[in-house]
Structure formats: C-alpha cells, structure tokens
C-alpha cells in the first residue's frame, strides 16, 4: 500500500455565529492522498475545499475528526508540516514588499530553501520581481505565490484554486510548472479547483466534495474507465442497484449513470426485455454534475 501524505478521518468544521444556525463547512470528510500523486480536489464554491485546506495548514481548528499531513497532526505538529509543505492559500502577501523582498523574507524560514530555484522560476514565469506586491497583476501575484512555495523545496504542495481568474497563457504556464517540474520529481500536489477541465488535464486522483462531504475519491483513470451513461427503453426497469448513481425516466427512456459494471448492467437490462440505446463514457464534468445532483440544472458545457 502506498504511503499516505494526507489523511483525514471524519474531519469536520462547523462555524457558529451568535443567533445563527451552525454552518457545516466540512462534515465528516475522509480523504486519502498518496505520495507522488496530483490530487484534484473539486467542488462548487462553498463546498468546503478551502476550509479543508485551512485545517490541513493548521490555520483552522477542526470541530471534530482528525487530519494527518506527512504523518503529522496539523494542530500539534504544525511546524513539521509547514517546513515540508508549500501552502498557497489566499495569495495575499505583504503589499509593500517587492518580489525580491518577499524572497528574502521567506528564505530564512525554510531550511530547504533554494535561491537558485527562486531565480529560475522568476525568470521562467516572467515575474517582475522589483515591483511591489500590491502593484502586481492578479496573474503575477499568483505566480509569485507559487514561486515562493516551490522555492521552499517542499515534499507536498497544497494549492487553493491556483488558477482562479488567470488568463489561459498564465494558466498554462502554471500547470506546466506544476506537472512537468514539480510533480515529475515524485512530489505530491493537492490542488483544489472548480475548473474541472484543468483538473482533468493534470490530476491523477480526484476527490469531489459537496456540502462538506466527499462524494467520490478515486483515480481519474478509474473514474473515466468505470463511469458510464446507459440509455435504455423498456418497462419496469430497475431504479436501484449497487452501481446505479442516478436514474431518470422520460417517456419510457431510462437514463442511467453507473459507477461501474456498465456492460454487465446493460446485459441484464437486455435480459429484462429492454432495448439499449447507447452506453457512453462520461467526462469528469458530467460525473461531477451527476454527483452533486445538479445535472439537470446546469448545462454540462458551462463547466466543461
């Protein structure tokens, strides 16, 4: 069994306000990230991604449950985690510092800091290092945040919505650095996002979170290989089954989404007198929409 870099057990974070109902931002999350993987942590806005990441960084204290990052407890062994993990969470730094000053500021904190790497990424990502942080564009702020995290030489990189609001060129630059440079060294990336196409491009593991709960966690190849849409015409066809994720019936046409065993399921439908219209693979966007229960409300192409 592979070594786990991140593991959460029934992790929960509930926010309470005076006179308000508690908000269950994260609600019993069980997450497992293997060393060397690129884990796409996907969910809608407010699904609980950022709160989870903040708990892993020790910024938020869980209401219940536990988390381990690199085998350490974020509550009690935060220093050990922070020395070995690059967190890019808010991408807001001291506004009055230039890129060079932020590099100088950071290097004293990290024993494995690489000034050579900082310079290389500054050149490669074309970051104006002599400009104050507050004067940088959104894309350059993101690139600088990533540079600082990468130059720590971390074993694990945790990125919260790293490409939000970036243009396609910067987006491509960042993803290339992450996949070709960082992850190729066998290091681990946890990347939250709601851009499913981008996750599909780089991730090898996917975790889908909604309303604070993990709905699915699997290898992306397995998801692609197993999830199927089966459309069939027939009478009295089954509406429940271990592999049936959703089923809808319109004018005698049954539309199934199956998590596995599509061929045998189709065969069993045929055995019940049904006509199979098609068995089609699904992309991550379609699977995501099915799992969060919004398939009928949001056109697939919006998130694809």
């Amino acid at each position: 069994m592979s070594e786990l870099v991140v593991e959460t057990r029934s992790l929960a974070k509930h926010f309470t306000g005076l006179g308000q109902k508690p908000v269950k931002a994260v609600d019993g999350l069980n997450m497992r990230i293997e060393r060397g993987s690129i884990y796409g942590f996907v969910g809608r806005n407010g699904a609980g991604k950022t709160t989870t990441i903040r708990m892993l960084a020790g910024l938020n204290t869980p209401t219940s449950g536990s988390a381990r990052v690199l085998g350490l407890d974020p509550g009690r062994e935060r220093m050990g985690i922070l020395e070995r993990t690059g967190f890019v969470i808010d991408r807001t730094m001291m506004p009055y510092m230039t890129g060079h000053e932020l590099v100088r500021f950071n290097r004293g904190f990290f024993p494995r800091w690489s000034s050579e790497m900082a310079k290389r990424y500054a050149d490669a990502l074309e970051i104006p290092m002599d400009r104050k942080f507050k004067k940088l564009s959104h894309g350059n702020k993101t690139k600088l945040s990533l540079l600082l995290a990468l130059a720590q030489n971390p074993e694990l990189l945790v990125l919260d919505e790293p490409t939000a609001g970036l243009d396609p060129v910067v987006n491509d630059q960042l993803l290339r650095v992450l996949v070709e440079d960082f992850a190729n060294d066998g290091r681990t990336i946890l990347m939250s996002s709601h851009h499913l196409s981008e996750v599909e491009r780089v991730a090898d593991w996917v975790g889908i979170i909604d309303h604070g709960k993990l709905l699915l966690e699997a290898r992306l190849d397995d998801i692609r290989g197993n999830y199927r849409r089966v459309r069939a015409i027939g009478q009295g066809l089954p509406e429940r089954g271990p592999e049936i994720v959703t089923v809808s019936a319109t004018e005698g046409v049954f539309d199934y989404v199956l998590s596995a065993g599509a061929e045998s399921f189709a065969a069993s439908l045929r055995g019940q007198g049904a006509t199979i219209l098609d068995v089609s693979p699904m992309n991550l966007s379609e699977i995501f929409l099915v799992l969060v229960g919004k398939e009928s409300h949001v056109p697939v192409e919006v998130l694809a």
């Binding site: 903040r54 960084a57 020790g58 910024l59 938020n60 204290t61 935060r78 220093m79 922070l82 020395e83 967190f87 969470i89 808010d90 991408r91 807001t92 730094m93 001291m94 506004p95 009055y96 510092m97 000053e101 100088r104 500021f105 950071n106 290097r107 004293g108 904190f109 990290f110 945040s145």
Partner: protein, 263 residues
C-alpha cells in the same frame, strides 16, 4: 528577517518620531530658547527644577501615547486585517513567535525613542543646574525629603514611568488588532484607554473613596495647594513591578487569542 518586516512597516513612524526628538533638541539648545546662553537661567531654584522635571514627565505622556498607539497597529494584527495573515502564519514558526517578535521589536523602538527624549531632558536639566551653581552637584532638594534626590535618579524614574505607560498603550493596541484581526483594532485600543479614563473619572466623582490607578504612575507626591512636587511617591519599586506585570498582560492575552483563533 522577520524583524526587518516589522521595521519595514514601522520605520516611517519611527523615523518621524526621531526627527521630532531632534527638532525638539534643536529648538531647546540652539533655537528659540537659547539654552546655551546661561544668562537666561542664572538663578534656577530647587523647586523650579523639581517642577520642571515633573512637568517633563507629563509632557511626554501624550506624545509617547500617540507613538505607542500607532506602533501597536503593526505586526500580525495588521496582516490578519490585510489578508496576509494566512500567508504569514503558514511560515514554519509558532504563532507566539511572530507575536513576541512584533511586540519585542516595537517595544524596543519605543524604549529607544523615550530614552533619547529623557537623555535630552537630563542634559537640559544638567545645564540648568550647572548654570545656577547648584550646591547639590546635580541633585534636587524636594521639600519633604530628608536628602536631595539626584537628577539622574528622577530622569531614570521618569524614563521607566513613560516606558511602562507607552508599553501599556502599545500592548493594548497590539492586543486589540489581534482581537479584531484588523489594524482597525487601534480604534478599539483607543476606546479601551478612553473608556478606562472615563470609568476612573466616574468612579472618582461618585465614589471618591475608591481610587482607580492612574494610567501614568505618579513619580512625585505634590503639595495639595501649589501642586509643586514635595517628595517622591512611596513604594515606587512595587508600583513599577506591578505596572510592568499589567503591561505584559496584554501581549500574553494577545498570544492566547492568536493561538486559539481560526485564521
């Protein structure tokens, strides 16, 4: 490097305050008052010098309070307010490490500024005492004291009193920025101080028997009629220690809040 960050944030305020001290010194020694010309001060009496030392203490109060109030807004509280708190607190150091570095360095800057002012005041008094041919060689006779008090001792006492007062204001403000997670905590800090002053006035008015401690420690006991200093206050050592303890309560409280709060 972290201290450099605090310096980077506070340097303008600190340098302006240093400039003010230098300007004050220039005004005193070379400018409008012409202290170099000893003919202006050929007969300084003991009471006048003692009173001047007392007044110099109270003149420092508003200036040091303002400086401490502004300096207290720098550091982790400001970062929390500006959104860089999660970045800062994911650097591998305990939260208390950031807090005590801020507090220590800010306090050191205050101490430096206050020390410089008091050295200048001491020098001024030395010149005045010397110009008058004072028989006590740098000492001041207070009416109710058995023996003269060295000027250096009074200046040192003034320095400690102002340091503790400024440290208190600084700590209250720093605590408030952490509690509010915003540099706007400086307003809360000012509110706390103002609230205490109002409370003390109300208590004094309605319950004269109860006396809340002054924000600024009293170095002298004064004559009820002329308000001239007549002796040093009693139990100065104990008061200093207690006030130092109160001053330290605020960064400790800020630490407790910071270590337990979600960022």
């Amino acid at each position: 490097m972290y201290l450099w960050k605090y310096w980077r944030e506070s340097r303008i305020v600190f340098c302006v305050s240093m400039l003010c001290v230098v300007l004050f010194a220039w005004l005193v020694f070379k400018g409008v008052w012409h202290i170099d010309d000893s003919s202006h001060f050929d007969r300084p009496d003991q009471a006048a010098i003692a009173k001047m030392l007392m007044i110099s203490l109270y003149l420092q109060v508003p200036v040091s309070a303002f400086l401490a109030w502004v300096m207290g807004s720098f550091g982790v509280g400001r970062d929390l307010g500006e959104g860089s708190g999660s970045y800062l607190l994911t650097r591998p150091r305990p939260r208390r490490w950031f807090l005590w570095h801020d507090w220590g360095f800010g306090f050191l800057q205050l101490v430096w500024a206050i020390a410089l002012v008091n050295v200048l005041i001491g020098y001024l008094v030395h010149r005045l005492v010397g110009a008058g041919g004072n028989p006590f060689s740098g000492s001041v006779m207070l009416r109710d004291m058995a023996s003269p008090v060295p000027v250096a001792e009074i200046i040192g006492l003034n320095f400690l009193i102002i340091v503790l007062f400024a440290g208190l204001i600084f700590g209250v403000t720093y605590f408030s920025t952490i509690a509010m997670k915003h540099a706007r905590g400086v307003m809360l800090g000012a509110g706390i101080i103002l609230g205490y002053l109002i409370l003390a006035a109300v208590v004094h008015h309605y319950w004269p028997a109860i006396e809340l401690p002054d924000l600024v420690m009293r170095a002298f006991q004064t004559s009820p009629v002329s308000r001239d200093p007549v002796s040093l206050s009693n139990q100065l050592g104990i008061s200093l220690v207690m006030r130092a303890a109160v001053m330290l309560l605020f960064p400790v409280a800020a630490q407790l809040i910071l270590e337990r709060s979600d960022i």
